[in-house]
């Protein structure tokens, strides 16, 4: 198992190097002149040139890249031009917010989609199968910013059940002491249940928005893979041995059907990271997505590079976790390592 972990981590290194190179080049070829942007609309050419020299943007690309990599090696991701803050600090502060939201959305989607997919497969062609198809199709057809706005309209504006969509915590609460960066977990650690409830209330609507989006691929995959497993020979053996429906469906079929679902989960998570950018905008969520979008608009290189790198590392870790999950579920994957 450790060997598997090691080899997976080793294979991630070249892709991370690739990410560093590509993001560096991409940010440089993007239209927009950083120096001109920061000099302001009324700046003289001399002022712009001065800023350019100050930022080091007048150096040749290889030199800029060498500077960037040597700083990166020291853990320095550079500083944002618009906020003046070091990128590493900003990402460290904002990443947990995004991660909490994305994971909450994913867990919620799993809790709904997996049982739904199983039922749709077991009762293939019944009303629940059709309901599953309709709901998931609807969920994936609506863009997240639209579902987000709709939910805000209904639950905040009309019904008043949800708090104002303004960030992670209501203004009357202070953030719990940072342990994991996840407010829900940190507030529980601090035994501050009031804060926990407030954070949960803020999180609910955006998480539901993401969950609706993630429902379709998970439910569809669960259904398809359950159908395949249910018609397999070992399920027939289990039935012929008189095992109960519950044992056949859960112990025999579902555990096998989980393998492709786990793989899909990795992809769904990366879709959600993308969808997150819009959801964070709608709910004024102080996450990493909205930070990156703003930086991109202002051609602020350092945060964009930092963001992409952080995402790439996150994705590598996620895939590692999926491989581990695979190893736990499937003994064959374990023995291959």
């Amino acid at each position: 198992m450790l060997k598997l972990l090691g080899s997976r981590l080793a294979t991630a290194v070249p892709s991370l190097i690739g990410v560093v190179i590509v993001t560096f080049l991409l940010t440089r070829v993007l239209p927009g002149d950083t120096a001109a942007y920061f000099a302001g609309p009324a700046a003289t050419p001399q002022a712009i040139a001065e800023i350019r020299t100050k930022l080091g943007l007048d150096k040749p690309l290889p030199v800029q890249f060498a500077d960037y990599v040597s700083a990166l090696a020291k853990g320095d991701l550079g500083s944002s031009l618009s906020t003046g803050q070091p990128v590493a600090t900003e990402i460290a502060a904002r990443l947990p917010a995004s991660a909490e939201l994305t994971l909450a959305g994913l867990v919620l989607a799993l809790l709904i989609a997996v049982p739904f997919g199983i039922m749709a497969a077991v009762r293939q062609g019944s009303w629940i199968d059709h309901a599953c198809r309709i709901i998931t199709t609807a969920g994936v057809s609506l863009p997240v910013f639209f579902t987000g706005l709709l939910l805000v309209y209904v639950f905040y504006f009309k019904l008043g059940w949800a708090p104002a969509p303004l960030g992670r915590l209501d203004v009357f609460f202070s953030a719990p002491e940072t342990v994991t960066g996840f407010y829900l977990i940190d507030s529980l650690i601090a035994r501050d249940f009031e804060t926990f409830r407030a954070a949960l209330a803020q999180l609910a609507v955006p998480a539901i928005t993401l969950a609706i989006f993630a429902l379709a691929p998970i439910a569809r995959m669960t259904r398809a893979s359950m159908l395949a497993v249910l018609s397999s020979e070992f399920v027939r053996t289990a039935k012929a041995a008189g095992l109960t429906d519950y044992t056949v469906i859960i112990t025999y079929a579902f555990r096998n059907a989980m393998l492709p679902v786990v793989t899909t989960l990795g992809m769904v998570f990366s879709f959600l990271l993308g969808a997150n950018v819009l959801v964070e905008k709608v709910f004024a969520w102080p996450g990493i997505g909205s930070y990156a979008v703003e930086a991109l608009i202002t051609s602020d290189y350092a945060p964009v590079q930092g963001f992409v790198l952080a995402m790439a590392i996150l994705y590598v870790i996620l895939n590692l976790l999926i491989d581990l999950a695979y190893g736990i579920i499937d003994p064959r994957a374990r023995s291959e390592a």
Partner: protein, 583 residues
């Protein structure tokens, strides 16, 4: 399927028939709802099985033998339903019993062992847990003693080291061992009836014998009734009291095993019997009576004279890294070097043989003996580790496998594969499949000339011209086998490697295909390298037979000599393991 149950009624039934037959099926008709409407899979089947009796249901694919047995257990899939008739199992009306009652019966009173044992087991659950599930379900054990009981059962099915195997996953066990686990699963609760659905298809003959002997012994000592479903008349005859022959959903004949062979009544039974390969017959004897003369007349005199060697294999070796071998790196850390034994597995271990022009040579052995590795190397799909392969005077073993596809010699060696369905491109019509080698290596580029050649090839293999535009899924197994053969002979090869070309076919189709191969060989003067695990089939088609075991040749000689007077103990074991019909 949930029927209304009349509790009083069936309580009365079970008390009034304690000494009647264990299983009685009357007028059973099973229908399947398909896209093309309702299909009757089984019609008007009658069957009676007493306590301790053994019944063999024999038939080819599509005969309804499996559907009948699934219906008895009521594990048909949802599209299937009992349209008519009754099934009574120890006084219980199976067709109308509630699902909960059926569930209690399954596994406890009636159980089933399946074809393809590895697929029949949950791949990600230990075999011990799977057997334990059945015991717990039927309250034959409680969580405290379940492991102990499972190990007991594993011992009964002769699993070596049962304490270790308890924690094994199916993929860690051999096919024969998986089948023992499936048997353990079926016998765990000591049921009264066991249905074995092609329990040994896909297993080696010696494993087949071991498995069947085990089943017979265990069922006999427990006084169980058995239904053996098989396509192999010989197997049914060797292990059953009564044999029931089915064709297209109907029972054509039921008789005591011994009588059905001595005096078969129905023409279909006779046809099946003739088609079963057995010692002391020729290929022609496999065909139904009427067709023999027609086939015989097409045989012309041999074109090429045997003598000149076409293929010579000398000291051929193929090594693979041993799976799960201790890592050389770790061993070095511990300060020891690994022996070759520990790291390298020799699939083919220094074999030499020769195939003459116009000769057919059989390569026989059980799975893992290296016969397929050898044929793949001769085909030049993989490179040998050592040794020499000379074909028509040229050392083709020296040509790297990846270059051989473009080598001019490539078209002179062709292959017919084991599974006629899997080896055809599902998106190619029959004509396109046959044309494929012509387009790639025959210098054809479409047009009337190609069509004429394809039509000629189709005619040679007996594939009707009107089927040429069909796709594989629209053709029968025999027709697909013909396409595979037509494709192989399209470029007039000198050597055709036949890799178990009939293993996936019904016996009557196998008979026809074997005759076709013989006829084509006579007509075209090709040589065959016939790879198979079935000595009888090899004996029918081949001039010489090579028996392989663990990568080495243990015996070599004329087909007649090897089959009738085997010198090696292993060959004798192989021949003895083939079930013989009592004729």
């Amino acid at each position: 399927m949930h029927g209304v149950v009349d509790v009083k009624d069936h309580a009365a039934k079970s008390s009034e028939t304690p000494s009647g037959p264990l299983l009685q099926v009357r007028d059973l008709t099973v229908e399947f709802a398909t896209r093309r409407g309702i299909v009757t899979a089984v019609s008007k089947v009658d069957l009676t099985l007493g306590k301790g009796e053994t019944l063999g249901i024999v038939g080819e694919s599509g005969s309804g033998k499996s559907v009948t047995s699934y219906t008895v257990m009521r594990i048909l899939d949802r599209a299937g339903r009992i349209a008519e008739g009754s099934i009574t199992f120890s006084g219980i009306d199976v067709a109308h019993a509630p699902e909960s009652e059926m569930r209690d019966l399954r596994g406890r009173e009636m159980s089933m062992i399946f074809q393809n044992p590895r697929a029949a087991l949950n791949p990600i659950r230990t075999v011990g847990a799977q057997i334990g599930d059945v015991l717990l379900q039927h309250v034959q054990a409680d969580p405290r003693n379940v492991k102990h009981k499972v190990i007991d059962i594993l011992k009964q099915v002769r699993i070596a080291r049962p304490e270790d195997r308890y924690h094994a996953y199916p993929f860690e066990l051999s096919g024969g061992m998986c089948q023992r686990i499936v048997i353990a699963l079926a016998l765990a609760c000591r049921p009264q009836l066991m249905i074995a659905d092609e329990p040994t298809t896909g297993l080696d003959v010696t494993t087949q014998k071991a498995v069947m002997d085990l089943v017979t012994e265990l069922t006999r000592e427990r006084g169980m009734s058995t239904i053996l479903i098989t396509h192999d008349l010989g197997l049914a005859a060797a292990y059953c009291d009564t044999v029931m022959v089915m064709e297209k959903g109907k029972v054509v004949e039921t008789a005591p095993a011994e009588r059905i062979f001595r005096d078969p009544q129905h023409p279909y039974t006779r046809k099946l019997m003739r088609a079963t390969p057995r010692p002391g017959i020729t290929l022609k004897d496999l065909l139904p009576e009427g067709e023999v003369s027609a086939a015989a007349s097409t045989v012309s005199t041999p074109v090429a004279s045997a003598g000149e060697p076409l293929l010579t294999v000398e000291n051929l070796v193929r090594e693979y890294p041993r799976q799960g071998a201790p890592s050389a790196f770790l061993a070095k850390l511990k300060g020891k070097t690994l022996t070759q034994e520990e790291t390298i597995f020799r699939a083919v271990d220094g074999i030499s043989f020769e195939v003459k022009r116009g000769e057919s040579v059989g390569l026989v052995g059980e799975s893992g003996c290296g016969k397929s590795t050898t044929s793949t190397m001769v085909m030049r799909l993989i490179d040998p580790t050592a040794g020499k392969i000379t074909f028509a005077g040229e050392d083709i073993g020296a040509i790297p496998a990846k270059d051989f596809a473009h080598h001019p010699m490539r078209k002179r060696i062709q292959m017919v594969f084991q599974d006629p369905t899997e080896s055809l491109n599902p998106r190619y019509t029959a004509a396109r499949a046959i044309a494929d080698p012509l387009l790639r290596m025959g210098g054809y580029s479409g047009g009337a000339k190609l069509n004429a050649r394809v039509a000629e090839l189709a005619e040679m293999v007996g594939l009707p011209q009107n089927l040429l535009e069909r796709f594989p899924h629209q053709l029968s197994g025999g027709q697909k086998a013909r396409i595979g053969i037509a494709r192989a002979i399209a470029l007039d090869p000198d050597l055709v490697i036949l890799d178990e070309p009939t293993a996936a076919l019904d016996v009557s189709v196998q008979a026809v295909v074997l005759n076709l191969l013989e006829e084509l060989k006579q007509r075209l003067g090709m040589s065959y390298l016939f790879v198979s695990h079935d000595l009888h089939v090899v004996g029918l088609l081949c001039d010489r037979v090579i028996v392989m075991r663990q990568g080495r040749i243990v015996e070599e000689g004329t087909a007649q000599a090897v089959l009738e007077a085997p010198k090696d103990a292993y060959t004798r074991e192989l021949i003895a393991a083939i079930p013989h019909p009592p004729v």
